[in-house]
Symmetry: C2
Subunit: 488 residues, 2 copies
């Protein structure tokens, strides 16, 4: 049995056990590892480099839309967290508490931030005085902690990394515009950089953020047919402003409460990357966020080694100079076959093989990670061909995930249909919903599917349904179409 | 009284009260603010943007020297922290403890990381098996918590941001080379990007990191004559490897302990920036890390406003296209004088004034923040002249800080001399030291000065001393020259 086969055999097949397949990729691609701290993971260099690539794309967009980064304290005094009633009710069950500092027993417990609304509102109350101070558009990259009972690397961990935006505005309209504009920033980032198609929509009352007036999300579909919430934005209205006393003197000399928003995405997205693009050979990374876009594997019998390596080195330099992220795997102790598998597992979009015969023919062999396609190319063309090829891969990966999403989107007119589809096919199921929480819960109980969101594109959603506007559960008149799915 | 004067008056003069001057700059330049959490500060957008500029310069160097970023858990189980005896003794008094997670009282307390050696060693023990796995060269950007009684923004806070490198090597020589090479990376970064000259050297036994075999530091001199430790690197030898059982199978089939290092710099450096470069008008930022390098202030009577603003907009675009970080202050509600002060306070290296007469003459007026020099320049020359001018400012700021360091470096042959110099002039005082802790303590008791480090450049240090190689305290034979100073 070849080394190659052995290597691949180590991953559980996705069809056999998709949960184990997921964990196998996380471990074998060295994205993350379990730690001695319950529920906390270590993000290993390869996983962290992917996160850095994601951060770069998102941070650029956040700044381009006028936001600035800042940093707020990790600890939140209990009394602050308790100020907004719904907020504390939502988060208290999962807070880690600091009760001792050095040798001193604290008189007031400190929450390790599960999210930063409370501490940020306390500051905004100080900073905001006049309408001239508005809008305040601040983002923070930080770690947060939520005490989870059941955890899975990236998807649900006690500690995770994220960005959280917190803005304050003069009017409710401005706040609502911000919430939708950031949702669009998330959609653009996740689709264009991560090649993951998503459905933007509004969350149901039941699923909204603790303390928000309305929550919006982008929802992605994993290859196992389960949904994953990929980002959320919250319209906080004046809920926090009123309890934290965030007021400004308006042009008309009236003291008014600000309107606020918050929004975030997290390292959870790395999990989406695995589950949307991965296969039985491992991870597949979209070129835009791949830490290494092209890996050069020299294939040389011993006597040709020196000359092939020299050429490979030269190629690496040439490609790096045109801005590609390129790595040369010149490890002597591993066979080319082992290396192929290793880099496929890590998801590098393009492999460039070069051997003595290739050099004679002034060419190299390119192998696409996404399709497996082998493309011989003249060496002289590489600097122009590879950037184009990488763009093509990026596009094709989005298209492929888009096709999957299309094929796995269904419609249901009755609870029976809905339940059958969820049981047999999973996927996104569009159905009319009356807006009642009892119906939402009844569907969940019957199907284990929840409302992912009420798509912003209601018109498009309606077109999928040939049925009348009647709630999928109670049959009463319905105004909106919801997407139901089982979810991570 | 003009608005300008009023604005400046709000900062305490440095000569009058340098501690208050420091805090005034932190607040007025909106670098940071106090928070409702004892000892924790909020890093405001301007302060955070400076930190991001510093991160970029340092992260690039860390990666160029072969290190990769990763992320380890915030929490460290007490039993792990307790493994290395010196380490726990050094850090236990300042640890914040999590004792409750959600509704559950924890059976084992979790330390909020004061530094990450313990948790990282636990992982390295898993990851490192063979000599082929070495070296491991990992860095982490993270928040850490040390329970401090007395705090000052940036300089000493309960929570701060930093990077911490943690490496494992096959031999002690390699580890020592890493420790010195990272010290050089820090020196290069702090001098070239932050324009702060530093002295690299070894810490005394007393001042070394808890658990290290040897600690190295770069020491900077603040304008008030006090020293600030700007970065440290630690040779951990096999201390942690032995208690965390980090072994590898060497080529000779022997199981051996690895040699380790760790190294870090923190947001403390923002404090150094203020205290090395600031003046009574506020902050002065070196161009390389300034979030805004050039601020354009249009100066226009009402009727010329439109035409001047249009030109200013155009200039902004032109300058941005050649890679400058440029901001146009087009606020209508503030006078030019107010804006001058505002941007001086925030430390922007260059101000570009443009008014109707300037436009007629096809020129603009440049004002340097570091020297106050006013330089009229033809508009057509700006794209070539400004990058050069910014480089010049960067150089001049380093030179100016270097001159200050030179003038405030002294030598002392006797304790009397040392005490007098410290009392009258502060600064760095070079003196022979026998290496005995009693002498170190005796000097501290008498002068409040501590040994900052034993400069790596002992030859240069010796040349400053005309006295014989006798310990400044006990008079016994001394082998090394130490730098004494009062310190932050």
């Amino acid at each position: 049995m070849s080394k190659e086969k052995q290597f691949v055999k180590e991953i559980t097949s996705r069809d056999e056990d998709s949960a184990q397949w997921y964990v196998d990729i996380v471990r074998k691609a060295e994205l993350a590892d379990y730690s001695p701290v319950r529920g906390s993971m270590v993000i290993r260099p390869h996983g962290y480099a992917i996160w850095e690539g994601m951060q770069a794309g998102l941070d650029r967009r956040i700044k381009e839309t006028g936001h600035q980064n800042a940093y707020f304290p990790l600890f939140i005094p209990e009394s602050l967290l308790n100020k907004e009633a719904e907020h504390v009710e939502g988060f208290a069950p999962e807070v880690a508490w600091v009760t001792q500092g050095g040798t001193e027993k604290l008189s007031e417990r400190l929450a390790v931030r599960p999210t930063s609304e409370a501490i940020i509102c306390a500051m905004y109350s100080k900073w905001i005085q006049s309408y001239r101070d508005l809008p305040v558009l601040i983002n923070q990259w930080a770690n947060v902690v939520r005490w989870e009972m059941v955890t899975r690397p990236f998807l649900r961990t006690t500690e995770f990394l994220w960005q959280e935006g917190h803005t304050a505005h003069r009017t409710g309209e401005e706040a609502q515009a911000e919430v939708l504009s950031m949702l669009e920033v998330y959609r653009d980032f996740v689709e264009r950089d991560m090649a993951i198609p998503v459905i933007p929509g509004r969350k149901s009352e039941r699923e909204k953020f603790a303390g928000a007036q309305a929550t919006y999300s982008i929802e992605a579909l994993m290859q196992d047919g389960k949904a994953l919430q990929a980002g959320t934005t919250h319209n906080l209205a004046q809920h926090f402003a009123k309890v934290f006393d965030i007021t400004y003197l308006d042009e008309d000399s009236q003291l008014k409460y600000v309107y606020q928003t918050s929004w975030g995405v997290s390292t959870r997205l790395v999990g989406a990357l695995i589950m949307v693009h991965g296969d039985n050979r491992g991870l597949k990374l979209p070129p835009k966020i791949a830490p290494t876009q092209v890996v050069i594997v020299p294939i040389a019998p011993k006597k040709a080694r020196e000359i092939v390596l020299a050429k490979a080195q030269e190629l690496k330099g040439t490609l790096a100079r045109v801005g590609l992220r390129v790595h040369l795997d010149d490890r002597e102790e591993y066979s080319p076959g082992y290396k192929f598998n290793d880099w496929e597992m890590r998801g590098v979009p393009l492999r460039l093989e070069v051997g003595p015969r290739d050099l004679e023919n002034h060419q190299a062999l390119l192998v696409r990670r996404d399709t497996g396609e082998k493309i011989p190319l003249p060496l002289a063309d590489l600097t122009t061909a590879l950037p184009t090829l990488l763009e093509q891969i990026q596009e094709d990966m989005l298209k492929s995930a888009g096709d999957f999403l299309a094929v796995n989107s269904f419609a249901a007119a009755t609870l029976e249909e809905l339940a059958e589809t969820i049981a047999e096919k999973r996927g996104f199921v569009y159905a009319w919903w009356c807006g009642g929480e009892e119906c939402e819960l009844a569907v969940k109980e019957r199907t284990a599917a929840t409302i992912r969101n009420l798509p912003l594109d209601q018109e498009g959603a309606r077109e999928r349904l040939h049925s009348k506007a009647k709630c999928v559960h109670c049959g009463k008149e319905a105004k909106e179409v919801a997407i139901f799915a089982r979810a991570y």
